[in-house]
Assembly symmetry: C2
Homo-oligomer: 444 residues x 2
C-alpha cells in the first residue's frame, strides 16, 4: 500500500448521515444553503483514499470531492508545499498577476504548470474555477474568430463604440457549439449539438455506433451552416461526465477537429473533469491520437487550480487587456498544483492508474455478469479508473454503498461514476467490489 | 507609523521599468500573455504600504493590486493565518464545500465571514472571483424572479425539459439591468441603463445633478417597461470604479431601490471594488441610509476571497443544487479573509480610513487650487480614501508618478483613482502629495 497509515478498510460507527453531521448541517443552514451537504468531514483524520466524517465513520472515497482530490488526503508532498515560505507569501501578498507578478511567477508557470501542458500547447491562462476557465476560453475563441475575419485591418471607430455598448458590429452575436448533456460549468447557454449515444459493449455495436457518430457530426455541420449567428468554436468534453459518462470514439473527435479546421473555428476541449490522469493518460484527449494539437484545453478539479492551455499565438487577443482580470489565477493554488504534478510524475501515477483501471474494469465486468440488472452498459474500458455503469436506482445504491463505507458518486439519470484518486491501487479494488456485491445482494 | 519597519519614503534605483523587470517580462511572454505586466515584484521585500520591484525600487503603493491588498504587504496577522494548521488542511484537502464541508466550515462562515455581512444580510454564497460572484448573483436574481412568477406552483414537465435545452419556458429570456460604464467583471452583456454623470464640485451643481439623477431613474423605469424580455434585477456599483469613479447621491440609490421594490425585482450591489472599508464605511452602500437592506451584495478584491451576501430566504433557489458548483469558494482564502476582518475590526481601520480620507481630500483640494488643469473634478469627499480626479493625460502622469516612487492607477478615460490600503495613514499623505506636486511642476 502506497499510503502509509491508510486504514485497511472502511469502518462505520453510526448510521449515515450520523447525528453530528445532522447537527452541523442544520447550523450551517442558518448562514448558507446547506441542503446539498452530504457529510461533514474531519479532514485532519482523513488520509490517502480514506475520508473520515465528523461522526467517526471512515469511508473508502472513490468520489474524491467530485473528482477533484488527485493524490490523497493529507498527501505529504502537498503538505510540504502548503507550508513553504513561497505559499505563505502568495497567500498574504496576493498579486494582480497580470500587472504585478511576483519574482516567482515565471518559475511557477514555466518550470511548474507548463509541465502539464497538453501536446502542442505552449501557452497558459490561469483562472480560479472550471466555469471561469471555460468562460475565458469562449472569449478567446470569439476574439480569434473576429481577428481572423478582420484579417489584420484595425478596429473601426464604430466597432470600438458599439463594443462598449455590447452591440454589433463591435460585439456581434457569436456562438459556441456545445453538445446536449454536456456540462461546462454553470455559465450561460450555447448552441446545442448532439453528442453520440453509444451502445455497450462497444464490440457488439461497432457499425451502429459508427453511424450514430456520423449522425452527430452531420448535425454539427448543419448547426454551423444554419445557426442564426456565426459559430466561433466548439466545446466538447472527452467524456461527457455530469451528463452520464458518455464516451465517443477517437474517430469522432478526429473528425470533429477536422470540421473545426475546415471552418477556421476554435476547438475547446473541456478537461475540467477528465484531465490530470484519471483516464490513464495525463489528458483524456491524448487517447484520440489527433494529427495536430487542439486549440484550447481547459482544466480545474484535480489540478487544484484552473485555467486553460492553448496552442497558438492566434489565440492571444490582438490587443493587451482584452483577456484580463484582477487576479488572473491564484499563485498559492498553482503552488499546490505544482506539488500535484510532482507527485504524478515522480510516482508515475498516470501509468499506474492505467494499470489499476484494467484490473478494476475486469472485476466490474465479471460482477456485471453476475448482477446484469445492477451493472448495465459498463464503460470506460482502457480509460484508467474513469469507469461508469448504469443501474436501475442509483440513489438507493449510493445510499447503501455509503452505509457500507464507500463514498461514491452518480451522474446523468441512472449512472454510477467511479472517480477514485490517482493513488487508488489494486489493494483498494477488493473492498470496493466487496461492497458492491454486498449492496447488490442486499438490495435484490 | 503603524507598520513597523516600513520605509519612510519611496526609493528609486533604476529607470522604470528597470532591466530586471524587462528581462522577466520577456521570459514570461513565452508562456503567458505578458503584455500587461507593469512591474515584477519582490513580495518578500515589500512591506505595509510599500512595494519593492525586482530592480530594487521601492514605491508607495496607492494602487494596491488593483484595489485589492487590504491591510498591507506581509501583514503579520495574515502571515499567522497563512501558517496555521487550519489553512494547511484547507489547501491540501480542498473540499467540495457544498457536499463535504469540513468540521471548520461552520465557524469559518458563522463566526468569521458573516462578521462582514452588510446590514440585514443573513446569508452568504462563497465564490472565487468578483466575476463569478456577479454571475452567481444574476442567477439568483433570475431564479427568484421565476419563483415569484410561479407563485408556488411546481415546475411543469415542459419547463423541466426545455430548461435542459436552454429554451423557454424552462429557460426564458430574462435580463439584468446594468449601467453604462459600469464594470461587473468580464462576463457576458446586459441591458444598459444610464448612470448619472454628476458635475463637480457637487455644492455648485445641486439642481443640475438632481435633474441628471432623475433623468437616469426615468430611463431605468423605461427600460424595465420596454425591454424585449423581463428585467429580473438591477446591478449597480456604489461608485462606478473602472468606469471613471462616477458617484451618485444617496437619494439616487434610495429611489433605485424603491423601483426594484415596486417591480418585485432584485437589487444587486456590486461592492467588489468599493467593499471592505475604503470608502470610510465597511460597505459603500451604507452611505445611502436605505430604509431596508439591499437584496444582494457581491464582494471580492480586499476580501481576498469572493462571493455574495444576501438578505432574504427568497433568494435561495426553490430547489437544492440549482446554485452549486464543485468548490463553492476556497476555505483557505476565507481563512485569509477572516484575518483581514480581524485586522479591520481590531484596529478600527474603517474609521481610520474615514479620517485620513478627510485629510487626503482636503490636501488634494488645496493642490487643485494650485494646479487646476492637472486636478479636475476632484471627487470622493467623505468617502474615505476612495478619491479620484480627472487629468488631461493620465498615462503620462502615472508614468511620472512611478518614476517618483508612487504606484498609482487610473480608470475611465482620464481619471486618476486613489486606492490606498486601509493602513494608509496621515504620514503617507505627505510623500504622495509631494510627488504629485513634483510631477505637476515637471510636466507643466
Amino acid at each position: 500500500m502506497s499510503v502509509v497509515s491508510e486504514p485497511a478498510a472502511p469502518s462505520m460507527r453510526t448510521a449515515v448521515p450520523g447525528p453530528a453531521t445532522h447537527k452541523t448541517k442544520e447550523e450551517l443552514d442558518a448562514v448558507i444553503d446547506a441542503r446539498t451537504v452530504q457529510m461533514v468531514i474531519d479532514y485532519e483524520k482523513s488520509i490517502g483514499n480514506y475520508i473520515t466524517d465528523v461522526d467517526g465513520n471512515t469511508y473508502l472515497d472513490v468520489y474524491a470531492q467530485i473528482a477533484s482530490i488527485p493524490v490523497g488526503y493529507n498527501n505529504p508532498t502537498l503538505v510540504k508545499a502548503a507550508t513553504s515560505p513561497e505559499i505563505v507569501s502568495a497567500l498574504v501578498n496576493r498579486p494582480a498577476n497580470g500587472n504585478f507578478p511576483s519574482t516567482r511567477w515565471l518559475a511557477l508557470l514555466r518550470e511548474g504548470l507548463m509541465r502539464a501542458a497538453p501536446p502542442g500547447c505552449t501557452q497558459v491562462f490561469p483562472a480560479q474555477s472550471g466555469s471561469e476557465a471555460n468562460d475565458l476560453a469562449f472569449k478567446a475563441a470569439f476574439m480569434a474568430y473576429r481577428q481572423q475575419q478582420r484579417a489584420g485591418s484595425p478596429w473601426t471607430e464604430c466597432e470600438q463604440e458599439t463594443a462598449m455598448k455590447n452591440q454589433a458590429p463591435g460585439s456581434p452575436d457569436l456562438a459556441i457549439l456545445s453538445f446536449r448533456n454536456s456540462f461546462h460549468g454553470r455559465s450561460f447557454g450555447m448552441a446545442p449539438g448532439y453528442f453520440p449515444l453509444l451502445k455497450y459493449p462497444l464490440e457488439a455495436h461497432v457499425q451502429e455506433n459508427a453511424q450514430e457518430e456520423e449522425r452527430c457530426l452531420q448535425e454539427v455541420e448543419n448547426i454551423i451552416s444554419s445557426w442564426h449567428c456565426p459559430v466561433a468554436g466548439i466545446i466538447v468534453e472527452p467524456i461527457q461526465s455530469e451528463g452520464g459518462d458518455n464516451h465517443a470514439s477517437p474517430a469522432f473527435f478526429q473528425k470533429l477537429q477536422a470540421i473545426t479546421k475546415a471552418h477556421g473555428i476554435t476547438l475547446i476541449v473541456d478537461e475540467v473533469q477528465t484531465g490530470f490522469g484519471a483516464t490513464g493518460k495525463f489528458w483524456a484527449h491524448e487517447h484520440w491520437a489527433l494529427p495536430s494539437p487542439v486549440d484550447i484545453v481547459t482544466f480545474s478539479k484535480k489540478a487544484q487550480t484552473a485555467g486553460y492551455f492553448f496552442s497558438d499565438e492566434n489565440l492571444r487577443p490582438d490587443k493587451a487587456y482584452r483577456q484580463f482580470n484582477t487576479w488572473m489565477g491564484d499563485a498559492a493554488r498553482i503552488i499546490i498544483c505544482n506539488a500535484v504534478i510532482d507527485e504524478i510524475l515522480s510516482k508515475k501515477l498516470v501509468e499506474k492508474t492505467a494499470q489499476v483501471g484494467v484490473v478494476l474494469y475486469n472485476r466490474l465486468a465479471a460482477l456485471a455478469d453476475k448482477y446484469p440488472n445492477w451493472i448495465q452498459n459498463l464503460r470506460g474500458k482502457n480509460k484508467g479508473t474513469y469507469i461508469a455503469f448504469d443501474t436501475p436506482d442509483s440513489s438507493t445504491l449510493l445510499k447503501k454503498m455509503r452505509e457500507l463505507g464507500i463514498n461514491i458518486g452518480s451522474c446523468g439519470v441512472q449512472t454510477v461514476r467511479l472517480r477514485p484518486m490517482l493513488i487508488f491501487e489494486e489493494d483498494h479494488v477488493a473492498p470496493l467490489l466487496a461492497a458492491f456485491e454486498t449492496a447488490f445482494s442486499q438490495l435484490t
